[in-house]
């Protein structure tokens, strides 16, 4: 049970002057029941990578295996794939089209051929994520606020209960409150269902708070992959490729540069506070 990428290469528009290498020599494995963050600079291939994982973008070469099921093989069962993996793109609210919130949520479920009872059950479950009240089910999705539309669009993917939920910048363009709501909702959903969430993000604070594992991309190559702690303790390398580190990690790095003997990582303010207190207690008893 995992997503496995073996020597994946992807070139856009090969053989034209617009030809561009989006992914190079990608080898990675994503194990289930965790939140995986994909980080990297603009144009580093993050979005392409998650689209390859979602079975939406055929790589130029290499193999992609999802639970021993080979994607992109001829005659591979697309239906089965669509049940395993769900993806919400950047600004997913732009993909809303149905007349009512309810229809929007049931769109994918009906395509999967589920029974009416099952559809209703899944809709009720997904409504929790949208934070909308039941009486909103009959409303048009276009009457909702931006944040509500975003949550509805993500909920329509969640409703299908994919084993792998892939999100491309789910919080782009939202205010801090809207961002926290979505991330908290995702975390709660993951803890409850024990599924795998893969998300592309720009915000290192969010990544530090949420992710169990991080993939770092630079120029289409996999630069690092490992647990959140492992990756952020190599903060200096991240800064070299133009990526930010969480603010507390950069504080730790700065203090280390001043000669403080402290570990190079700290994700949250509380953690940083403890580390600093502990160090000061050691040097000034």
């Amino acid at each position: 049970m995992s997503i496995l990428l073996e020597d994946v290469h992807l070139t856009y528009s090969p053989g034209t002057p617009f030809s561009a290498d989006a992914l190079r020599e990608i080898n990675l494995k994503i194990t289930p029941n965790q939140i995986v963050a994909v980080i990297g600079h603009t144009g580093s291939g993050k979005s392409t990578l998650v689209q390859v994982m979602a079975g939406l973008q055929r790589p130029s070469s290499g193999r992609v295996l999802m639970d021993d099921f080979e994607l992109y093989k001829k005659n591979s069962d697309r239906r089965l794939l669509r049940r395993k993996v769900g993806m919400a793109f950047q600004y997913p609210e732009h993909q809303l089209f149905e007349e009512t919130v309810e229809k929007e949520l049931s769109f994918g479920l009906q395509k999967q051929g589920r029974s009416i009872d099952e559809v209703h059950l899944q809709i009720r479950k997904a409504m929790g994520f949208t934070q909308l009240t039941e009486d909103m089910l009959g409303r048009s999705p276009f009457e909702l606020s931006g944040g509500q539309m975003r949550r509805l669009a993500i909920a329509s993917v969640i409703a299908m209960e994919p084993d792998y939920l892939i999100l491309d910048e789910p919080t782009a363009g939202l205010d801090p409150a809207g961002r926290d709501e979505i991330l908290a909702g995702l975390q709660a959903w993951q803890r409850e269902t024990k599924k795998t969430v893969i998300l592309v993000s720009h915000s290192m604070e969010d990544v530090a708070k949420l992710a169990d594992q991080i993939l770092v991309l630079a120029n289409g190559k996999l630069l690092m992959s490992g647990s959140t702690r492992e990756v952020f303790s190599r903060g200096a390398e991240l800064q070299e490729v133009g990526l930010d580190v969480p603010q507390m990690t950069s504080l730790m790095l700065a203090l280390r540069n001043k000669g403080w003997d402290i570990p190079p990582y700290a994700m949250t303010v509380e953690e940083a506070y403890q580390v600093i207190c502990e160090y000061l207690g050691r040097v000034r008893p």
């Binding site: 697309r78 993806m87 919400a88």
Partner: protein
């Protein structure tokens, strides 16, 4: 998912060639002359000349032939349809095949092939215009050509601006459509199964978001233009003036010649497709 690949209409292909360097105004005139000549072409010799001319222009433009052929793919079914329609509806020449009410004459096949060729040449040469000219040059050229009609109230600048915007957004909308198709696929939509009605209905999840986004883009663009105090027409100067040179005059002269030859062949009946029968 691959239905939108290969749409090259409105796309610019940067290269360093004589055709790319030509003045946009002259290029538009040359395309017009070529299209007139193409519709004048009446026989095998004329078509041969038109094909040779088109291919040599494509070679001069340094655009790979593969690229042009890829752009033709979307119109192939129209070509096929034309071919079939002409084959069955024209009753000239000798009967070659008959089955109950359907009959095929060799004149029909010949006419179908010629019509198909005409379409292919038309699309490849006109797509060459947008491939070798940047959208800005193209509209500047168009505006310059339409200027004389301003006297009778034709809003030349506004028309040209609308064309630029339309051309500019073709690739953007294709990209957008591609993204929406992928997104709806990820939500479980299937665009390749079912009968004609099911397939038509399955387009709805693409079309609704696409239209909404097109309107939103139009709105944003209008707002941005207004915020920068855009006013069309009067007293606007250009950063890059169009310049014409010897090659532009030579180009127009050679195309006028081509057109004259086609007209001569047609009206003197020297070259006619019926000769092949």
């Amino acid at each position: 998912m691959n239905m939108l690949k290969g749409v090259t209409i409105g796309q610019h292909y940067p290269a360093d060639s004589v055709i790319h360097k030509m003045d946009a105004r002259f290029k538009i005139v040359m395309i017009l002359l070529y299209v007139i000549a193409l519709f004048m072409a009446a026989g095998p010799i004329s078509y041969g000349l038109m094909i040779v001319f088109a291919i040599s222009v494509i070679i001069c433009s340094k655009i790979p032939l593969k690229f042009i052929i890829r752009g033709l793919r979307p119109i192939l079914w129209i070509v096929g349809f034309t071919l079939i329609l002409h084959t069955f509806s024209t009753q000239e020449g000798d009967l070659v095949w008959q089955w109950s009410r359907f009959s095929v004459y060799n004149g029909g096949i010949l006419r179908g092939v010629m019509m198909g060729l005409r379409l292919i040449l038309l699309i490849s040469i006109t797509s060459l215009l947008t491939l070798t000219t940047t959208p800005i040059d193209l509209t500047d050229g168009l505006e310059a050509l339409l200027k004389p009609f301003k006297k009778i109230g034709l809003p030349a600048h506004e028309l040209a601006m609308m064309m630029t915007i339309a051309l500019r957004f073709v690739p953007t909308l294709i990209e957008e459509a591609d993204k929406i198709i992928k997104a709806q696929t990820a939500r479980g939509a299937d665009f390749e199964e079912g009968g004609l009605i099911a397939r038509g209905k399955s387009m709805l999840p693409i079309l609704v978001p696409l239209f909404i986004s097109a309107f939103r883009r139009a709105d944003d663009l209008a707002m941005a233009m207004e915020a920068r105090c855009y006013r069309g027409g009067e007293n606007r100067t250009k950063m890059k003036e169009l310049k014409s040179g010897v090659r532009d005059y030579l180009g127009v002269i050679s195309l006028s010649l081509l057109m004259a030859i086609m007209m001569y062949f047609r009206f003197s009946k020297l070259d006619s497709w019926t000769a092949l029968l």
